[in-house]
């Protein structure tokens, strides 16, 4: 998959397993179960079968004819991870980890979530497999993402608002670790992205590699040749690594990761770890990578219009692919993202998530520079229509605001207290 050092869990100088002693036995158990699963073709078959019957795999590859004409360069293709059950690539990873949990005999799953997609996906998997489920979510995100909290709770999960630190994704990860060190006997921590201690970066990438495996076969079937470039947004890095996995060995295929440029790289209000010079190498949350941190090693606040990209660290596998030049990293600003989303909706009738729209920004910038007989591929990692509250806010839609105000007035006038749990 990717080059690794002799030392397990390292990708170049990045990765590792910086875990507290109390979890050493738990990680030994996880490593063994993961190793067994990887060497057992029946595991992968069961995983693929389940993804095809439960989550709409293989997801289609869509030719974006109107966008292609609009930019007048490369033929634009879109990998439709938004069509997964629960609306994002997150489903791949949680179903994979759920199957692993069954092998390990664990009965309770915990997870962190930022925007809420990974929380909803995990709660869905827990409902299907009959696991108890607790989701840690920063208090700020709980407020921003009530619809996802609503679904997690309906799915039977306990959602714990995290009130420490910056009250966002990284703090939710810390809190999930605190739960895990207490309850590891029956509990698995289903980390949502290709970060954290070994084997998570490699294991999550493995589960997400379905995306690249399918996309490569699909575009070869469609065009007979490989794409010239592949674009994906990068938060933790799992959707990017998923699609890049299919093309890493194809030296002529350019791989482009797009991070959150927020208000602009010069403002400091962004989450660009690899596309900016603001991040330095550090060790936190169990692994070594580029972090947005100060000179003392304290993590800084990050910003993005897309909660799923708003994170201080990045997959160690991507840090290595950045260092060795295999993947190029760019940043897309909040306003560029809204423009790209708007254009995609109008031209193609597709609604990428705000996160995924970052990948579209750079693909649109580059498209005119390719010739018409070349193709580029964008990973639409999630759908935006289910994040209507966030997207409507991002568009600052006056009619939506009015609707919410009227709805609020209606609730207030009714005077009752609707079922709150």
């Amino acid at each position: 998959m990717t080059e690794t050092n002799a030392k397990a869990g390292y990708f170049g100088e990045f990765g590792g397993s910086f875990i507290p002693e109390i979890l050493a036995a738990t990680f030994a158990e996880l490593l063994a179960a993961y190793g067994d699963a990887r060497s057992d073709p029946a595991f992968w078959e069961e995983y693929k079968r389940l993804m095809s019957t439960y989550s709409g795999r293989p997801t289609p590859l869509t030719y974006a004819e109107n966008l292609t004409q609009h930019f007048g360069g490369a033929q634009i293709y879109i990998k439709r991870e938004d069509l997964n059950h629960t609306g994002a690539h997150k489903a791949n990873n949680v179903i994979g980890q759920g199957l692993l949990m069954k092998r390990m005999g664990k009965t309770r799953v915990i997870a962190e979530t930022g925007a809420g997609q990974h929380g909803v996906a995990t709660a869905t998997m827990a409902a299907k497999f009959g696991f108890d489920c607790t989701i840690y979510m920063g208090e700020v995100d709980v407020r921003r993402q009530r619809p996802n909290v609503f679904w997690m709770e309906r799915l039977g999960a306990t959602v714990v608002p995290v009130t420490d630190g910056t009250r966002t994704l990284k703090d939710a990860i810390n809190e999930a670790f605190r739960d895990w060190v207490t309850n590891m006997d029956d509990t698995h921590y289903a980390l949502g992205t290709a970060c954290g201690p070994h084997p998570f970066p490699e294991m999550v990438t493995w589960f997400q590699s379905l995306i690249g495996e399918e996309a490569r076969a699909q575009i070869l079937k469609e065009r007979g040749t490989l794409p010239s470039a592949v674009y994906a947004c990068v938060g933790g890095g799992s959707n990017a690594l998923g699609i890049f996995s299919g093309f890493l060995d194809d030296a002529d295929v350019k791989l482009v990761g797009v991070e959150a440029g927020g208000h602009g790289l010069s403002t400091g209000r962004h989450a660009a770890r690899l596309a900016s010079d603001d991040a330095t190498i550090g060790v936190a949350q169990g692994y070594k990578t580029f972090f947005l941190q100060d000179g003392d090693g304290q993590m800084r606040e990050t910003h993005s219009v897309a909660a799923g990209l708003d994170y201080v660290g990045v997959s160690p596998i991507l840090s290595n692919l950045s260092e060795n030049g295999r993947v190029r990293f760019e940043a897309a600003s909040d306003t560029e993202v809204i423009d790209a989303l708007s254009l995609t909706i109008k031209k193609e009738g597709l609604i990428p998530a705000l996160e995924s729209s970052h990948g579209f920004v750079q693909a649109f910038k580059d498209a005119p520079n390719f010739s018409k007989d070349e193709a580029i591929l964008i990973n639409q990692s999630g759908r935006g229509d289910k994040d209507i509250f966030t997207v409507a806010d991002a568009f600052d839609d006056p009619k939506w605001r009015q609707f919410i105000q009227e709805k609020a007035a209606e609730y207030a006038a009714r005077g009752d207290n609707p079922d709150v749990d």
Partner: protein
């Protein structure tokens, strides 16, 4: 100034006069550096033999809510690594007990492992506890510490099997910190037969002095540990006490944990 005596020697010497030693913990810069120095004074006055000085970190994953908040408040008040090291240096200069640093690995990594260890040695500190640095990742750190006679302190937990206890004993120096139970700092621990069996395993695995931490909160807990470990660690309990009753409460509380010497 550098310490002539190692942490292990110092503990063994003090253990001649006491059936159990006390190790306490503060988060540097919490509630402030000025109050922190008064807390250290009170603890030294009360007879504490070893102190852990925690340099705050923004992601303290191994700590429970009380110490977590102390980390955060200290950083919000503007604590820097440099200010923390100056504080530790002053402690070591003023008081004749063994001071250790406790912090997460990123703080050392960003400072530079060699530079950090040199700074510790110059300051007269005895060793460090880094809860997110397992022996497998500790090569460079071990070299930096050992070449300066500083103790790299490692951790045993109830989930650590005998083989792994041996692996840890091979690299640990000064003392081994035995975590009493699963979970983070600041919750209750049952001082029962299961704990005793675990401590017997720890004792069998290493000749180093043993310290027992997580959930030690009163005289009965400390009494239970006499003969089983060499040091009892009081962490969260003193932070709680200070929050509830002020710094004045520290000295009588700690004195009440053991018979007068």
């Amino acid at each position: 100034m550098s310490t002539s005596m190692t942490l292990e020697d110092s503990i063994r010497a003090k253990k001649q006069d006491r059936d159990i030693l006390l190790m306490t913990h503060i988060v540097l810069g919490h509630p402030s550096f000025e109050e922190g120095m008064r807390i250290v004074e009170a603890m030294v006055d009360a007879g504490v033999e070893v102190m852990e000085l925690q340099i705050p970190f923004s992601e303290p994953t191994a700590d429970g809510p009380v110490i977590l908040r102390a980390n955060q408040q200290s950083l919000e008040n503007g604590a820097t690594v440099e200010r923390c090291l100056q504080f530790a240096e002053e402690c070591a200069r003023r008081f004749d007990i063994s001071f250790l640093l406790m912090t997460y690995y990123n703080i050392l990594f960003k400072y530079g492992l060699e530079a950090f260890a040199q700074r510790m040695a110059d300051a007269g500190l005895y060793g460090a506890i880094v809860p997110d640095l397992p022996p497998e990742e500790a090569g460079e750190y071990l070299e930096a510490m050992q070449s300066r006679n500083l103790a790299p302190i490692f951790i045993y937990t109830p989930t650590t099997d005998d083989t792994r206890m041996q692996l840890i004993a091979d690299v640990a120096e000064g003392l081994v910190y035995c975590v009493a139970r699963r979970g983070v700092t600041g919750s209750d621990t049952h001082f029962d037969e299961e704990l005793d069996l675990y401590l017997a395993r720890c004792r069998a695995a290493t000749d180093l002095p043993l310290a027992l931490g997580f959930g030690v909160k009163d005289r009965a807990d400390v009494d239970h540990l006499v003969g089983r470990v060499d040091l009892a660690v009081i962490g969260t309990q003193t932070i709680r006490l200070i929050e509830e009753s002020g710094i004045e409460a520290v000295k009588p509380f700690i004195e009440g944990l053991r018979d007068p010497s």
